[in-house]
Symmetry: C2
Subunit: 287 residues, 2 copies
């Protein structure tokens, strides 16, 4: 197929959200693009089941940026170069990112690079891991409880002078009844829970950690700002995990008995088994 626009001889880069883990939570558009891509560039937060669901003929490249001194690391410059080179070669490039591509996913930087190199691109939103919390029975907002939702990453030491986050302000939103979600905050959980308490947030404020939300191996623990570190250690929570702090957390306890989900709750319900004809990979890992 050709179009009359002057970049028709080039490929295109799709920055695609892979969602939180369950392949059924890909968007219809993401599913179609994965099935159509010439090359798939995926990072370490992309669930394996989704990469494996690509057609066998699709070239898949792991560009995961693994932390640690011995981790293999694909630099951002290398990822940028790959996207541009392949698009210039005429390929449909799917740059797959865990969750949503522009929520702490560096999608913004990548679009700037592509635009700078005059490469056509498109951003396809995905279910951010933030939203996956809803599937565990914890609503992100609640008419009676939370009136705001704040999302930050937990990479940084809150007491660092040069911290880009205003923890005074974040603590105030939590104290006012807002929900706080911390992404990538397993290791520094003791630091930021302490930072919140020192800034006046009640130690009894409900808190939860969800590891691998919507994956088959999902684990959720609940507690309070004062107990969640112990709960994390007791359950052996490891990345990728999400921390939720606020009065919405106890809703899970109220609804858990009637919350069903294939894979995580051990309840198989007929609707979950309905196949989607024509979707390569069906629902691997979903049931």
């Amino acid at each position: 197929m050709t179009t009359d626009n002057d970049v028709a001889d080039r490929g295109k880069v799709y920055l695609v959200g892979a969602g939180p883990g369950d392949p059924d939570l890909l968007t219809v558009k993401a599913r179609r693009l994965i099935d159509r891509a010439d090359v798939l560039l995926y990072d370490s937060l992309t669930p394996p089941a989704i990469v494996e669901s690509a057609p066998a003929a699709t070239e898949t490249i792991d560009v995961g940026k693994k932390p640690g001194p011995d981790g293999e690391r694909t630099t951002q410059a290398e990822i940028n170069r790959l996207m541009v080179d392949r698009a210039c070669a005429g390929d449909v490039v799917v740059r797959l990112k865990g969750g949503d591509p522009t929520v702490f996913g560096r999608g913004g930087e990548e679009t700037e690079h592509l635009a700078d190199r005059e490469i056509p691109f498109e951003v396809v939103p995905g279910i951010s891991s933030v939203l996956s919390v809803g599937a565990t029975g914890i609503p992100l907002t609640h008419r009676e409880h939370a009136s705001s939702l704040t999302v930050v990453t937990g990479h940084e030491d809150p007491e660092k002078e040069e911290s880009a986050l205003d923890w005074d302000a974040i603590a105030d939103t939590v104290a006012a009844g807002g929900t706080l979600v911390v992404l990538m905050g397993v290791r520094r959980l003791p630091d930021y829970t302490a930072a919140l308490r020192e800034r006046g947030v009640d130690a009894d404020t409900p808190a939860a950690m969800v590891e691998k939300a919507t994956w088959d191996e999902e684990t959720t623990v609940t507690g309070t700002l004062g107990t969640i570190v112990e709960a994390r250690d007791g359950a052996g929570i490891e990345p990728p995990a999400i921390t939720v702090i606020g009065d919405v957390v106890p809703v899970r306890g109220e609804v858990a008995a009637w919350l069903q989900r294939a894979g995580t709750d051990g309840v198989a319900f007929e609707s979950d088994a309905i196949p989607v004809p024509g979707l390569a990979g069906g629902a691997p890992g979903g049931d």
Copy 2:
């Protein structure tokens, strides 16, 4: 199909996110459930194209809560009753909500009601309209700019004594470089932009409004905290629209020339036309 659990004779309620508007941004699971539902309960923020994509035999019920003295109004009690009655009658009930069901969607209240009545349910996350902003070229976070993302609704007068939101704290997160997204904030735009400026946020802080993000009729205007009210009026922005405030907004200007999307940018690209066999409704309105 039967299961050995004691609620096998009952139906089930799925609280399903309909996404921001483009039917292609439904999740694979939402698509399948819509195609399978006995009854679909949808609200006023559910895009018409998605309701219309349901199989002809599916019963669809508009439970939209329309504001205003003359608007027909389905009360929450009535919605709750419908969900319970139909599930007890053995139906697969899809309660479709615009965006994500637990981000300002009252999904939490509805799960509590269902659990209280012992009705099996499941929450299927959707692309929140918050995330749809990414598709317009504005990343929600950016390594160089935004380190936090705060989401609130714009229904309330910020100067009301009993406002549930701590606008001092919200202003501080914006002043610290965070992104603020205001949902349902068309009418009160002058109020909360003034509230932010009075609390020390620079009038030059970039701002954007996106009406009907990802719909065919999408409109985006950009400006600053000081000019966005005028921009809203000039473009005639009406609900449903999203306000984005923060240093991420100008990224759109940098990348717009190479940002493509079927429907909104007038650029048809071959990949957008690939059908998904077996998905009822294909991609209505998407191209």
